[in-house]
Symmetry: C2
Subunit: 321 residues, 2 copies
């Protein structure tokens, strides 16, 4: 299981108002007729994309990237960046770095060396062109690139004596909630519930994400399907087990077709789950929109899709909440 930051407060009223706000901005089902057309939303999103992200004015002199290292201990990786003036930043890499480290060295490191870290906006735009890097779309480029970006932001934050959030925006919530993401989709209902309960107890968690659907990613058996009827049983049982005050989320990792996702989504609504993550495959944009428009439950997406195209389309067409 993984503990993740969540911007959701653990009150059950939260999503309803968030949904309401987004409904007005991005055209889901009930308000479709009143919502601005996609072209207008495209213009708005285009304007947002053009705004600079990093606050360059916080840094008066160049911060030249002199070295960019990947430090390995078994299958754990740290990234360390150093400036020519001796500033240092560190980031922790995701576990897939054990597979993706050659992309760090072949496709990314050479581009960053010698550049002024204050140009991070432009660097991140242009690194996609370097070496045809845009061809490595997905986590293959995303993980090593994010690792480098975090190390650079850490270095810049230390230089400016500010948290990273203040380098790129305003900090609205000095404290953020945590949710626990559990992952026992292949186990029978009773065993899943026991494992989820143990995990929740260990961390005194008030928000919980469970996995639903039969995505058998952990086995090479092509015919594996997972316990039959698990989804239909576990959705009400998790609510019953943890009570109304627990904030619940569900993640299908793209498993369902549109009609199945809508059917399962209605069950999630009935038991007051707060969002449904990746109900259908992450890059099937029209399918995601169909699910979003059929359900009042907010739809989450974007763990895999790093393209501006996908986000822009989904936001402009009422496919994301």
């Amino acid at each position: 299981m993984i503990c993740k930051r969540s911007s959701h407060q653990p009150e059950l009223t939260m999503n309803a108002s968030r949904r309401h706000f987004l409904a007005a901005a991005a055209a889901p089902s009930a308000l479709r007729a009143a919502a601005p057309p996609a072209a207008e939303l495209y213009n708005k999103l285009g304007g947002i994309l053009k705004q600079p992200v990093l606050k360059k004015h916080l840094f008066k002199s160049p911060v030249i990237i002199e070295s960019l290292e990947l430090l390995r201990l078994d299958n754990q990786f740290l990234c360390r960046v150093r400036s020519s003036a001796g500033a240092e930043g560190i980031s922790v890499a995701h576990s897939t770095m054990k597979t993706l480290w050659p992309i760090f060295f072949d496709n990314l490191q050479p581009f960053f060396l010698g550049k002024d870290a204050r140009e991070l906006d432009l660097i991140l735009e242009k690194v996609f062109v370097y070496g045809f890097n845009f061809r490595f779309n997905g986590i293959s480029l995303g993980i090593p690139l994010a690792t480098i970006e975090f190390a650079i932001l850490d270095m810049l934050g230390r230089l400016a004596a500010k948290p990273v959030g203040e380098l790129i925006g305003e900090i609205h919530n000095p404290e953020v909630g945590l949710y626990m993401a559990t992952e026992w989709r292949e186990k029978p209902v009773e065993e899943s519930i026991r494992l989820i309960r143990d995990a929740v107890a260990e961390y005194d968690i008030h928000a919980l994400k469970i996995k639903i659907g039969g995505l058998m990613f952990m086995t090479a058996d092509m015919y594996a399907e997972g316990p039959k009827g698990r989804t239909e049983a576990i959705i009400p049982l998790v609510r019953k087990t943890f009570g109304d005050s627990m904030a619940l989320y569900a993640d299908a990792n793209g498993f369902y077709t549109v009609p199945e996702a809508v059917r399962v989504g209605r069950l999630l609504e009935q038991y007051k789950y707060r969002y449904f993550e990746e109900p259908v495959m992450f890059d099937h944009l029209e399918d995601i929109r169909q699910v979003a428009q059929a359900l009042a439950l907010p739809i989450a997406n974007g763990e895999q899709d790093y393209s501006f195209y996908g986000f822009r389309w989904l936001l402009a067409h009422g496919g994301l909440d």
Copy 2:
């Protein structure tokens, strides 16, 4: 430069009739009103997707994959597959395997071992789920996966004593033409022309693809733009240099915006180029469609986009020729 197989014959009449055929099937500009709606084309494409690809009936007994190796000499890789009965297949990997070999071993090899190669259709479907492999969308998964697939098809072809084409379809053209793809986008016009002419002469080539636009993938300089005015000069000059009998293609590798792509496309039409590859970024589906609908020149796409979603959308919306 690279010599590639091309299904295009070197007669200048070819694309016009191909375009005509596709216009009737997939709804580009002039015939849009008469074309079937996207939903109908989706059904048709869905039906095609459901058809089996590998002719399993050619193999009476199981072909169990016993080993799957990657053989390395410096930065060159061969893939060798062997069956439990001693059959063998070999494929040559693309040069990016020097960066992607851990994906071969971590994400793919374990899934293939012990499986019956006659199940290739199902294997290729399910391997995307194994280890969340769909997250590695793009060439990171595509190159190692295609390398394995080719080795398996080579093994099956040897077993059936048939060329690979006959394992998955009918061979319509026993001989296919070659085109040469040149790549000197960063060089001034005169030098580009000299290099292209030398390459063409060396191989006695009758079909040629040039690179246009200013995509500076070979340099870490964020401000590099390439020779000014090169595209406008080289398009007519290549036609003039090689004459009307040379089949010409152009590839922008996604460099242009829609209006720029349409402007450059009209110049390509004027000088009787036969297709325009990746005029805009490969996954910007709506932009690709806009370019396709504004030009009579056929649009090529798909070197980077491996998703069924993208192809299906483009085919059903008249975005590809």
